[in-house]
């Protein structure tokens, strides 16, 4: 019997930056193995939403659940620290600016979390790193340092680093926005491969074409609210809302 509980569930998410309400009560859920793309203009709150799933942003209201466990539950400081660390180990996060650790080699970047957080032996962690690098097509860079890699390679290593923790979901925060155009495809290819393996993914992106190709569902956000959501075919071809239409028009023409 398959588990029908959603993998990620967000209920009534609200967030303020000072007086500015950047998330105005967002509800959405992601089923097991589902791929959701979140699109929208900059400042729409899509990155904030993604970051609050990982609790890098603390919500001012609402709930985030991962696989039946509430992420942002109320606990004493110490207990919450323990709780959030274990929850985060089950989520892979990929950042716009890669955030590889510059003082560690590629192998160490990938191995450090399994070693220090799961107590994996050094040799095993290195083998795991190699396996993950193989997956993203960078096995030959295992002993390189991040500064020697291209942006696309850095991002693929960052994906490998997240995958090494065997996460239940992968969160992508504009993973290709900081890349030169010719390097975007290699990263997209890795993400498509993950999609083929039925990884549950939430992808915040500027790339409509990629979203249409890979996502099971697309969410269009503007001004801190979900304007419209649906299957990519429907949302991109026949948007219902005027707001969605004008956004897509600008994007597809420009």
């Amino acid at each position: 019997m398959t588990d029908v509980r959603p993998m990620i569930e967000v209920r009534g998410a609200r967030k303020f930056f000072g007086p500015l309400e950047v998330l105005k009560g967002i509800d959405f859920s992601v089923a097991r193995g589902q791929i959701v793309a979140v699109i929208g203009p900059s400042g729409s709150g899509k990155s904030t939403l993604l970051r609050s799933i990982n609790h890098l942003e603390t919500l001012d209201g609402g709930e985030v659940w991962l696989d039946g466990v509430q992420v942002n539950q109320t606990l004493a400081r110490r207990a919450f620290e323990k709780h959030i660390n274990s929850v985060r180990q089950q989520m892979g996060m990929v950042f716009q600016h890669f955030n590889l650790f510059p003082h560690l080699s590629v192998a160490e970047n990938i191995a450090i979390a399994p070693m220090k957080l799961k107590g994996m032996a050094k040799a095993d962690a290195r083998a795991l790193a190699l396996k993950m690098l193989d997956k993203v097509g960078l096995a030959d860079k295992i002993d390189a340092f991040p500064a020697r890699l291209s942006g696309g390679q850095k991002q693929r290593v960052a994906i490998a680093r997240a995958l090494a923790m065997q996460p239940k979901v992968m969160l992508f925060d504009e993973a290709t926005s900081a890349l030169d155009p010719e390097l975007v495809d290699e990263v997209n290819l890795v993400m498509k491969q993950l999609a083929a393996e039925h990884m549950t993914m939430v992808i915040v992106t500027h790339e409509m074409r990629f979203a249409a190709e890979v996502a099971d569902r697309v969410i269009f956000m503007a001004d801190g609210a979900v304007v419209e959501e649906g299957k990519p075919d429907d949302l991109f071809r026949n948007p219902v809302q005027e707001r969605t239409r004008s956004f897509l028009k600008k994007f597809l023409n420009g």
């Binding site: 929850v87 180990q89 955030n99 510059p102 340092f145 680093r161």
Partner: protein
Amino acid sequence: MQGLDFSIVPEYLPLIGKGLWWTVVISVVSALFSIVAGMGFALIVLYASPLVRYPVRLFMWLFMGTPLLLQLFLIYFGLVQIGIDIPALWSGIIGLSLHFAVYNADIFRAGIASLDKGQTEAARSLGFGAWQTRFYIVVPQALRNTVPAVGNMMIALLKESSIVSMIGIAELVHSAQLVISETYRPFEFYLTAAALYYVLNLILEAVLRGIERKVELSR
């Protein structure tokens, strides 16, 4: 005018050499302590509770605003009067270490503050706790990024280690003084000591350049 006569210098070189050895030992030990303690102070100033943070900040402020010689006098001649008797050698090492730890702490604090916020976020997103993130990600990077600045402090430390001669530690300057009290040839022997410091300084600079290059290579 007495004039100069360097021909008597070689005779006393073994004694001077002993002083030189102690200068190296004191400098190396104090340098290591000052780096470890400096990072400790930096982490306290940045992350510890106010109860610990403010006393440490007060201490740093006091030590930055006063001369090393005065601090050495306090530790060696002062503490003994309230029953804390620290031998001269350790007084010197403690004084040098604390004096430079305070400067290193300032460098480390700035180094940590200038790290990209994404580094902490990436570590936290993998499930590292706050102190784990500092230990594995923040501190190593801050140490690497501050090699040039801390290196300059260590160059200053080597030279200022000469000041511990004033509390009677038999390092280079002190052994030169011993020889001078016998030979009445201050210029010759102070110049010899200065030359030896100059050579030590060159060696230290070469070592630091080596470290900088190594750090640079793994970027």
